[in-house]
């Protein structure tokens, strides 16, 4: 516990409460205080003692970290606390009865041949083993199969990304051996499940001989770049988000105007505050002829998160954050809300699925890659 406090700079905390007043969950009305957890950690209390004080409530969106005057890594502290609480055999009661976590653990266990590539269409060129680019799909096929009761199409973003890679002459590796990156297990503290996934995945990519690893998922990216680091060997492929990969190659894509679209961009917390990637998705969108990018009042480092990244908690307050975010998006006058993380799409679309206020907050949602890929289509048909 002391190590953790030191590592996350918790001891520097001077009790100012800025974190609490910044916290979106608190702003949405929850009784919750990041500062209290910092204090508990500094006092060396066991993590299990704060299980019932909202250990799994934190969105890990890093809003507080970004504002903290003394640079406490509260998000890192929470991650550490959850891991240590998990070791004490406490598990959170996850949304959907923990079905998603079970799915991840089944993947972590391995031993089966997943049937995860049923969505690949013939017009997409991929290779299961060899290629310069390893395209990391993430779990969008699972999400689309699980969230059947509202309009979730995260695979569209996955397909669009592959289409763009094809347009650049790449035939990426899309591997049936890919497993969940383990992000969500890590963030509920299940280190064991996470590590077995990490080992498998790092091994898979390392052996592929690819030069670059590209993913469309902000969480996968964070996991690869930060959490897998200790496992990653030398001469490992470069790890890029699809927007980073594409941003400086847009000219090669020969994009043409599809239609006039006003788009606003939702910074995923993992991509933005966790990894500092703010500009590339915007550059990518601006490179699409006919797309006008408008910003929400809170964007970039100030962007509000989708309120569900770690899949450890979901509640009325998360909903309120989402509703506010969607109202902001609607107020920009945008036709489409663009994200660069499938989770943002799932959680914000879930919020729109509301019998009372759904109409007021609904807005079309796409992955950034989808907008770009559409600009390819237009050229083909001309």
């Amino acid at each position: 516990m002391q190590q953790l406090a030191a590592r996350t700079n918790a001891w520097a905390c001077y009790d100012c409460g800025k974190c609490t007043s910044t916290c979106p969950i608190v702003r949405a009305g929850a009784t919750y205080s990041p500062r209290r957890h910092v204090l508990a950690a500094n006092l060396g209390e066991p993590a299990s003692s704060i299980v019932h004080d909202g250990l799994y409530v934190c969105l890990t969106c890093r809003q507080c970290d970004a504002r903290c005057p003394v640079e406490v890594d509260y998000t890192g502290l929470i991650l550490g606390l959850r891991q240590s609480a998990y070791d004490e055999t406490t598990q959170p009661e996850c949304p959907h009865g923990g079905a998603l976590q079970s799915t991840m653990r089944l993947m972590a266990n391995g031993g089966t041949q997943q049937d995860r590539l049923g969505w690949l269409k013939e017009d997409l060129q991929t290779d299961p083993k060899k290629g310069r680019v390893f395209y990391w799909t993430g779990c969008t096929m699972y999400y689309d199969a699980f969230f059947t009761d509202f309009d979730v199409h995260t695979l569209d973003g996955t397909r669009a990304a592959i289409k763009l890679l094809n347009a650049l002459g790449e035939t990426p590796i899309v591997s049936p051996e890919e497993r969940c990156c383990g992000h969500d297990l890590l963030w509920i503290g299940d280190r064991k499940g996470f590590e077995s996934l990490a080992k498998h995945n790092v091994d898979l990519v390392a052996k592929s001989g690819a030069e670059v690893l590209v993913t469309s998922c902000a969480e996968c990216l964070r996991t690869w770049r930060i959490d897998y680091q200790p496992l990653i060997p030398d001469d490992f492929p470069e790890i890029l988000h699809i927007s980073e990969f594409l941003a400086d190659q847009t000219e090669k894509l020969d994009l043409s105007e599809n239609k006039q679209t006003r788009a606003t961009y939702q910074d995923p917390c993992r991509l933005g505050r966790h990894l500092g990637v703010y500009d590339q998705p915007r550059e990518l969108l601006e490179a699409v002829p006919g797309v006008e990018l408008v910003e929400m009042p809170r964007s970039g480092v100030r962007a509000i998160c989708c309120a569900g990244s770690t899949w450890s908690n979901c509640d009325r307050f998360a909903k309120k954050i989402q509703v506010e975010r969607l109202r902001e998006a609607r107020d920009t006058g945008a036709d489409v809300l663009v994200t660069a993380c499938p989770k943002c799409q799932i959680h914000l679309k879930c919020a729109m699925n509301d019998p009372n206020i759904g109409e007021e907050i609904s807005i079309e949602m796409r992955d950034a890659a989808e907008l770009v890929a559409e600009a390819l289509d237009k050229r083909d048909s001309k």
Partner: protein, 154 residues
């Protein structure tokens, strides 16, 4: 897939059962002393509509070789349409199970009424046999004792 003789191991099967029909059907099999395979354990809920993907996936995660979801015949639900909701949940679960590479024969949905003791026994025998044919689940405890799941939560 099963390399070993199918009778050299005993499968572990979770049966989720509705209180009003299939659980009662198992009791009826008991009253009539209809012998059947003993490798399953029942978990009783009030309605098959309660049986959500998380239950089934958790059972596989912990090591079940097969999972049977059972409810009242369509049109006979104690709660009007609970079993129709169960179908929706089951289909969603099945799509995830298949994607995970678990043989779809390891997961089954059956309607068994409270009077159908003989049918309950028949379903159990038949399902047990089917699981034997498939061999141990890749996630099952019989595959490798070292990989057994961790203890009870909470």
């Amino acid at each position: 897939m099963a390399t070993k003789d199918k009778n050299s191991w005993d499968p572990e099967i979770v049966v989720f059962a509705c209180n009003w029909c299939s659980y009662a059907g198992a009791d009826t099999a008991g009253v009539s002393r209809i012998q059947h395979q003993p490798h399953f354990r029942m978990i009783r809920v009030m309605c098959s509509g309660r049986i959500q993907p998380a239950f089934v996936l958790r059972a596989f995660e912990r090591g079940a070789d097969g999972v049977l979801v059972s409810g009242c015949h369509i049109g006979e639900c104690h709660y009007i349409f609970g079993n129709e909701r169960a179908i929706e949940q089951f289909e969603k679960t099945m799509s995830i199970v298949k994607m995970l590479g678990i043989e779809e024969q390891r997961l089954r949905l059956e309607w068994i009424s409270s009077a159908e003791g003989a049918r309950f026994a028949e379903v159990i025998n038949e399902f047990t046999e089917q699981i034997r044919e498939l061999g141990p689940s890749p996630f099952g405890r019989k595959r490798s004792p070292a990989k057994a799941g961790k203890g009870v939560a909470g």
